[in-house]
Each structure stands twice: as structure tokens, then as C-alpha cells.
Amino acid sequence: MGNLNTAARKGKIPHRMVKWLRSGKGQRFLVMISFMTAPLLLLFVFTYLPFFKMIEFSFYDMKYIGAREFVGLDNYKDVLTDKEVMNSLKLSLYYLIGSFVQLALALYFATMLSFKTKGGSFFKGTIFFPYLISGIAMGFMFKFFYTREFVFDTVLTWIGFNLESLPYWLRDKSVNNIALVATSIWKYMGQNMVLFIGAIMSVDRELYESASLDGANRWHQFRYIILPSIKTIVVLNMILSITGSLSAFEPPFVITGGRRGTSTFFLLMHNMAHGHQKVGKASAMALILFTLIIFVTIAQKLIFKYAFSDNNADVSKKTARMLKKQRAKEAK
């Protein structure tokens, strides 16, 4: 405050303003400005400004440097009639199916590891750790893993497969996308599993005990106690995997570089922007993707509003009440 006073005495700031700044309201204003400016500026410069520029760029034929030409909707027409783009959208189906497999596996192992298991934290740790490996390191690992006669082939021949009958995992167009999706499952399944374990653990332990006293078997426990209580997070992850598969990028980027029909929509866009420097067309692609994501998100909001209006806690409470009633009946 000393600085303000001297500044005011020198006549730089009018007295009234100093008074206001020292008042409660002024203090509030000061703290709000000084705490929010930097984060909001960063948000604007690196998220919203690029976003609006992207909309602008999508109407131009341009490179990063040099003259540009207004082309109207040509970029969008180009993208939507491009065979490669259509093919890449088909690829996202592989990733979508992959992420459903991933969720199912995660749910299976999460349910298992939520109950007493010998070496449980070891299993949990090893399944989860791949999530912490950087994409680039993972890329090298799997290039090595899938190379002809290397890790995967060797292990398969141990189990009894004949090397001649095995395909080239990254070259053969009939299997290479599946091989890539598998690496994505390898990396992210553990993370999903940890989320599910967290949700299952938040269910009241007593529920399981009372349920097993009532003679409910494991399947019943899963169906009537675990599943309702984690329904929300499972459905949320299912919807997220739609946007996730539309924006699949890492596996082909680090492992195949998008060669031999493995280029996803995102990778195509990356190459368009940074390889061919077709900035306008890349922006149009980004916006088309963004529109799709918005649609999926709106759908998600609607689904949650109408189908999941009862929240987690209530569901498990309901189950608890039901079980209590049943028990009371049986006691009679």
C-alpha cells in the first residue's frame, strides 16, 4: 500500500482511486484481476485465438508463409470428397471397436482386482504402468515388437505357430490396423481399469457383505451392485471412446508413420499441415472433426440428462434399501 500512497502523493494516481483500491471492493477487484489475467490470457492466446484463426484459414488456400487466396468452401469440398479421408474415417471404426474391447477388459480386471486378490497391487501396477510410457518410447518398442521374426513372432512360434503362416504385422494391410489398435489397448486399458477400481471402491463395502450373506453370487453382485454404481463412468467412457477413436493419432504416428493404409484422420491432417503445408485444407479437416466431436458431446449430454438422471449414490442406496427390506422379510 505504501507504493500506492507515494504514487498518489506524486499525483500520478488520483486520491479517490487509491481510496477505492484500499476499500473492500477495490481489494476484491485487485485480487481478481491479478489472479485471473495470466490464466485467461493463456487460454485466449493458445486455445481460442487459434480456434478462430482455424475457422478463418479454412476458407483460404494458403501456406504458413506467403500470399493466400480466398477459396470459399473449396477446402471443405476437397476434404469431403477425398478418398483418403473417407478411408481414414473407416479406420476409426477399428479404433472404436478396440476401445470397446478395452473397456470390457478394464471392467473385467477392475471387478476382479477390487476383491481380495493375491498380488493384487502387483497385477494392478503392471497392467497400469504402460500408461506412463511416452508415446515415442512406445513407438520404438512396438516397431521392434512386431518386426518379422522378432518378439511377437518368436512368442507365437513358442506356442506352436508356424512362422511362414504369420503375416507381416505392420505391412500386411489386413492386420496392420488391428496390430496398431492393440498397442493402444495395451497402453490405455490399465488407466481405464484404475478409474473403474476407484468407482467400485467408492461403493459401500457393507453392501457386498450383506449381499453375500443373502446368498448373492458373484454374478449377482456384479450385475446388481457393481454395475449400477459405476454405470455412469462406464457410459461416459464409452461415449468418450467415440471422440477418442475419431481423433486416434498416436499409434500410427509413432509406429508406422501412417504408411500402408494406417493413416487415421488426425494423422492425415497432421501431414497435410506440417508435411504438405496445406494449411487451409488442414484447418477445414480440423473443423469437420470438431463438429463431429460437438455432436457426440451433445448426444452425451442428452443421454445423461434423460437416461441417467438418477445419480450413482442413489442407485447404490436404492440397492441397499432393497436388500435391507428383503432381509427383514426373510427374518420374519
Binding site: 485471473m36 484463426k53 486378490t117 518410447a137 515388437f145 472433426l289 470438431f290
Partner: protein, 282 residues
């Protein structure tokens, strides 16, 4: 238990452990094969199958060569600098913003929250097309501070973790401090910030891991690899002349993975709970 139930129980246990064992093997296999290959001499690598164990587990030449050729000393130094500033910056910005949003009622509060939420829908890598142009015009490409500034600003999940945490601290705590003559700054730095410690640790771990592993933007904005190589981009060295010299590549990969492994073993619990907290609202 009847005999039928007993058989069912045993069967279920067998299925459980067999499937756990199987998934563990699949999880570990790529990493185990990387370890095996990293300890092989060049001759050994060329003449034996990749899954054959190395002759000596103390042969470290591959690690030394990888460390030198990929300039990993510099890479670790750069990554350390980046992490210190990015973590400090994003924690400060995140907690300060969360403080304002959770404690002050003002017009625009909801709007700002929604702006951050909406930002998560914009696909990050897609906007790099135009972010690149903005970075270029601000002369931030190939500067460490440019990359640091970029990395500080995009962390919605930790903002939400902080807001959640603030909502569990009673408001009367800061109100009484204000009545006692403390300023808002004093309340934030002296009273609330220390209380946030668990949330700060959670978000530091999450942000730390993602900053350490980030390779896409560092490759794009720190192009001069002789000066601004980071731990993850140092691995790009192995794409060119090394081609298929996997004994060196695997050693390099393992060096970059080691810090993540150590952090994971030390802070497993915090990582798990951090992820769970981040996912609830995010």
C-alpha cells in the same frame, strides 16, 4: 459348501489367476524384450534371437552409446528446466484461478468455467496448425520459454481438482481471516495455499508425467535438436542412422523410461487417486 460350490469356487479362482497372469505377461512382454536387447553386444544382437537372454547383464556399452549419441545429458537438463517452470506456473495459475472461481461471486464466473470446459472439446493437436502460426509470429519457436509458456496454459483437469478441493474448505475460514484484517492475497498465500497441499501434489504428479512424456509439441516447437532436445524427443535421434540397431535403441528407450518407473514405484497411490479425481469432473 457343497461339492458343487467348491468346484465352482476352485474353477473361478483358476480362471481369475490365469487371466491375470496372461494380461501381466502381455503387459510386460514388450518391456522385457526391450530390456533383454539393451544388454546385448552388437555381434550378439545380430546372431541371436531377440528373446534369447544376453550373455552378460552388466554389459552397459549400449546405454553409454545411447546416452552420448542422443545427447541425453542435455535432454535431461532441458526437461528438468521445463518441468520446474511448467509445474510451478501451472500450479500457481491453476490454484489462483480456482480460488477466484470458487470464492468470488461475480458476473462472468460461470462463463469462465464454461470457457475452460469448452476448451477441452477443441482437439489439441488439431489447433497446432494455427498455434504454430501464432508461435511463429511471436518468435517463440525454438525457444525454451516459448514452449514452457505454451505448456503452462492448458490444464483444465487440475483447475477442476483445485476447485473441488476449495469447495471442501469452509468459507468461514477465509472470512474470519479477512475480518481479522488479512488481505485476500494474505488469505490465499498464507492460509489456503498450504491447505491445498494434497491437491497440489496430485496435480503435480499428473502434470509432471504428461510434461515428461510430451513429444508432439516439443518436436514441433523445439526443432533445433542440438540445443533444445528433451528427454522424449531425444529418442528421435534413433530414427535416422540407427535404422534397426535395436540394441542401442532399446537402451535409449529404457533410459527415458527409468524416471517414470521410479516415480511410479514411489507414488503409486497418488497417481491412482489423482487419475480418479481428475476423471470425475473432467
Amino acid at each position: 459348501m457343497t461339492i458343487g460350490q467348491r468346484i465352482l469356487y476352485i474353477l473361478r479362482t483358476v480362471i481369475k489367476y490365469v487371466s491375470l497372469l496372461l494380461v501381466t505377461i502381455i503387459s510386460l512382454l514388450p518391456m522385457v524384450s526391450t530390456v533383454i536387447t539393451a544388454f546385448k553386444t552388437e555381434v550378439e544382437y545380430a546372431s541371436t534371437n531377440v528373446m534369447t537372454l544376453p550373455q552378460s547383464w552388466t554389459y552397459l556399452d549400449n546405454f553409454i552409446t545411447a546416452w552420448k549419441d542422443a545427447n541425453m545429458g542435455l535432454a535431461f537438463r532441458n526437461t528438468l528446466i521445463i518441468m520446474i517452470f511448467v509445474l510451478f506456473g501451472s500450479i500457481m495459475f491453476g490454484t489462483m484461478l480456482a480460488y477466484i472461481l470458487s470464492r468470488f461471486d461475480f458476473r462472468g464466473n460461470g462463463l469462465i468455467r464454461n470457457l475452460f470446459l469448452f476448451a477441452t472439446l477443441i482437439p489439441g493437436i488439431a489447433t497446432q496448425v494455427t498455434v504454430y502460426q501464432i508461435m511463429y509470429s511471436m518468435k517463440l519457436i525454438n525457444t525454451l520459454y516459448g514452449y514452457i509458456i505454451l505448456m503452462m496454459g492448458t490444464d483444465v483437469i487440475s483447475i477442476y481438482i483445485f476447485i473441488q478441493f476449495f469447495e471442501n474448505i469452509p468459507k468461514s475460514l477465509d472470512e474470519s481471516a479477512i475480518v481479522d484484517g488479512s488481505s485476500y492475497f494474505g488469505v490465499f498465500f498464507k492460509i489456503l495455499f498450504p491447505l491445498l497441499k494434497p491437491a497440489i501434489i496430485t496435480s503435480m504428479i499428473l502434470k509432471g508425467v504428461s510434461t515428461y512424456n510430451e513429444y508432439y509439441m516439443s518436436n514441433l516447437y523445439l526443432q533445433d535438436k542440438s540445443k533444445w532436445v528433451t528427454v522424449s524427443t531425444s529418442l528421435y535421434t534413433f530414427t535416422g542412422p540407427y535404422g534397426s540397431q535395436y540394441n542401442y535403441i532399446c537402451a535409449g528407450v529404457l533410459i527415458t523410461m527409468l524416471p517414470a518407473l521410479i516415480i511410479f514405484i514411489l507414488c503409486q497411490k497418488q497417481i491412482y487417486s489423482g487419475l480418479t479425481q481428475g476423471a470425475v469432473k473432467g
